[in-house]
Symmetry: C2
Subunit: 284 residues, 2 copies
DNA sequence: ACTGCTATCGTACGGCGTACGGCAATAGTA
DNA sequence: TACTATTGCCGTACGCCGTACGATAGCAGT
């Protein structure tokens, strides 16, 4: 076990004193309250649209429940409130039916998640014939699709790797690669490499976004002098040239590699580098 | 909403008949049983090692519970049985203490997950000075670390993006990039691109592994003629040149892009392409 | 009038995270 | 030595979760 030592080293922090503990708990509670407030605000935005939909369509009970209804409702809940809010009971309430009624149409929550995931796969782009442009368009669309439904990444991990829409997109991706006239195996691998980069980028970005939002709320719940102290501490920690000689340069030159403003730019940067690599190796 | 039509199209499947439904349920139950059997077998493998550890160390109650004990136990459970098995009650049982005792040492399950994640970050490799070799070594170690603890990906999404070990590794990654003598921002972005590729690869691979295992168990629980029918159906579906003209080539040429045997090779392929891109753009 | 199928739902079970308050052991102080 | 405060641990309870099971009510075919 070579990481044994590192583990212990990472956990040397001792238990806090009782009052520090109580204070921390209070802060957490406050942060949670902030989060819930934000959630409610977010829901309020969605509510009008939902109500409209409810009014312009015939009442559900008249025309009967369908799989599509359930999936739509689940997606709406996930979009508005995130994965944790997606429960069978909640979806049923949203549709005005009993919780167990859903199980007539879907076998389990897992199956529902699969259906949700496949339902939000964006359509592949039109192909121009320029492999590089097409591949880039592919990557952008896939990324945008995932960022529009950030909850999807939570299900991506547990579900099966392909649904029908996913299959069609993969096929289109292979089509885009025809311009390079590779053998089919190499083409599949190149396509997979692009998809891999996109998946990683989306993963990182969603993680960033969530953490950013969370940190904001937590900070909002703290007294300003605490915030200032924390910021200073954080900066000093990173700026310690003995511990992190290279990270220090980032701080002193005021470069924030995780800045939200450069998110798109960073994605394009990596994508470009990757396409360069493909071109260098395969373009005739 | 441009994906509205696709969603409906993807969900046109009608409700199943009663007996098909019952049969499907039975199959699911059988598959679950298989899964549980496999889980128990897996646990049995781990149990001896754990017992040994339990015996060679002083009993916990004598020396008192620590954060590190809790994190270790949680990691052990996660390694043996996956994320779902990691519950506060279970960890406590594993340690021979009450469930609520854990909360003296960790603030919440979320904090525990963060600690687990940081604890299994592998150490960065020694640097050779050859940027390309160093970057590749980095990527390989990061990947291996995650594959050794496949549950980590589940927590990666929800947790904050950095812990102490992660910070140190990032610093080392920047160090490896010094050979290219880039400005710090570009270096950070290049490093991030590598990390992104690795994250995506790990995500895909773990997804693949899980699905593979799951499919195996499901198939094992089905009568052989059912299996054969399913396989034939699946192949015909993919082989339909009208629907998936390019996927068909994969089937006819007997290329399986998701084959477990080529997992390492595929990772190296993409990594190589990416490094080519970096070299093409930045190597002097 | 009777039968059987479709769709819906109420109840209940076991498990989850964790708030809260109590308790024993220990340490600090007079 | 006696008293007190702190630390570490834990039993109970609450409100969630997914979902098994069986009971309907409406409807179609005979």
């Amino acid at each position: 076990m070579e990481d044994q030592e590192r583990r212990e080293q990472a956990l040397e922090a001792r238990a806090l004193s009782r009052e520090a503990r109580a204070q921390a708990r209070e802060m957490r509670t406050r942060a949670r309250e902030q989060r819930e407030l934000a959630r409610e605000r977010r829901i309020a935005e969605h509510v009008s649209r939902d109500k409209e939909r409810r009014l312009t369509q015939p009442p559900l009970r008249a025309r009967g429940l369908t799989r599509a209804d359930i999936v739509d409702a689940a997606i709406a809940v996930a979009d508005a409130e995130g994965t944790e809010a997606v429960t069978m009971r909640r979806i049923a309430r949203e549709l005005g039916v009993g919780a167990m009624s859903l199980y007539w149409h879907v076998a389990s929550k897992d199956e529902l998640q699969m259906l949700m995931l496949d339902a939000v796969q964006p359509a592949a782009p039109e192909l121009s014939g320029d492999w590089r442009a097409d591949l880039a368009a592919f990557a952008r669309i896939a990324r945008q699709g995932m960022l529009r439904h950030p909850w999807a990444i939570d299900y991506l991990i547990s579900g099966p790797p392909v649904g029908p829409n996913d299959t069609r997109n993969t096929d289109q991706l292979l089509a885009a690669l025809e311009g390079l006239s590779l053998d089919i195996k190499t083409a599949a691998w190149v396509g997979m490499t692009i998809a891999t980069y996109v998946a990683g980028a989306v993963l990182r970005e969603i993680q960033e976004i969530r953490w950013h939002k969370d940190a904001e709320l937590t900070l909002a719940a703290m007294p300003p002098e605490e915030v200032e102290k924390l910021r200073r501490q954080w900066e000093e920690n990173l700026n310690d040239p003995a511990k992190y000689p290279h990270m220090a340069r980032l701080v002193t030159e005021r470069v924030d590699p995780d800045s939200p403003e450069t998110r798109d730019e960073r994605f394009e940067f990596g994508l470009d580098v990757l396409l360069d690599g493909i071109a260098a190796r395969f373009a005739r």
